[in-house]
Symmetry: C2
Subunit: 154 residues, 2 copies
Amino acid sequence: MSARRPPPTDPLSAAFDAARRAALAGEVPVGAVVVQDGRTIATAHNRPRALKDPTAHAEILAIRAACQILGDERLTGCDLYVTLEPCAMCAGAIAFARIRRLYFGAYDPKGGGVEHGPRVFNQPTCHHAPEVYGGFREAEAADLLRAFFDGRRG
Amino acid sequence: MSARRPPPTDPLSAAFDAARRAALAGEVPVGAVVVQDGRTIATAHNRPRALKDPTAHAEILAIRAACQILGDERLTGCDLYVTLEPCAMCAGAIAFARIRRLYFGAYDPKGGGVEHGPRVFNQPTCHHAPEVYGGFREAEAADLLRAFFDGRRG
């Protein structure tokens, strides 16, 4: 409702907004958005602390919410936008959900499971791999995480 | 309450009972149990179809339930018993939950993420790896899955 801040014009911006809400809530700032045919189906941010649930990553929550909204355990044709490279757990969920395209912000050499470590989608046993596009607004995503962890150490 | 069928005497038996309940409910027969200090904290079976949730694997549901019961996003000191080798998604959740020991039934060359494919716990970036013990009651676990999939094809 504020004239000062326009609404997000694209799903990745909405994911970044969700990540900022995570930081304000004391959660690691990662946000995710599920989109189908240009329509936002679900938006979520990390909530493992609030929910006392180690699986409550932004991607998992967004996928679960989108499945409830669409009434289907598969999100065929849906795309996922995330501010950070998904971990192995979330990559597995993305494959099970049959996400069509994955767009993510910063690469995550320490915890990523797509372009690093287990490289879940590159395994011959992976039954569904989305198209993957990474490295969007990397500096912004990295700054968000750095500010959050600096704040916690301070 | 039946004299014919004694209660499960160990967590892996309870996991197998849960897997059989999954099959009766039309879900892929995998069961999981979280144990702390010899006490069963949570039992679950696969429910992605019923819950319309691609993340609703037995391990994820058991871990989430145990976290709610214990009021903590970490299950430090808890052990997980599963009838089948966990996939990459579940292996990631096991790491985040800080499960102490993982015991599983059948190895899963097609979908497993522990001893096959992404080998999540073997990655240098894995921040917590449980002790892993696999191959318990393999024939029973494999028979359960085979009977289920034969029944679906029939």
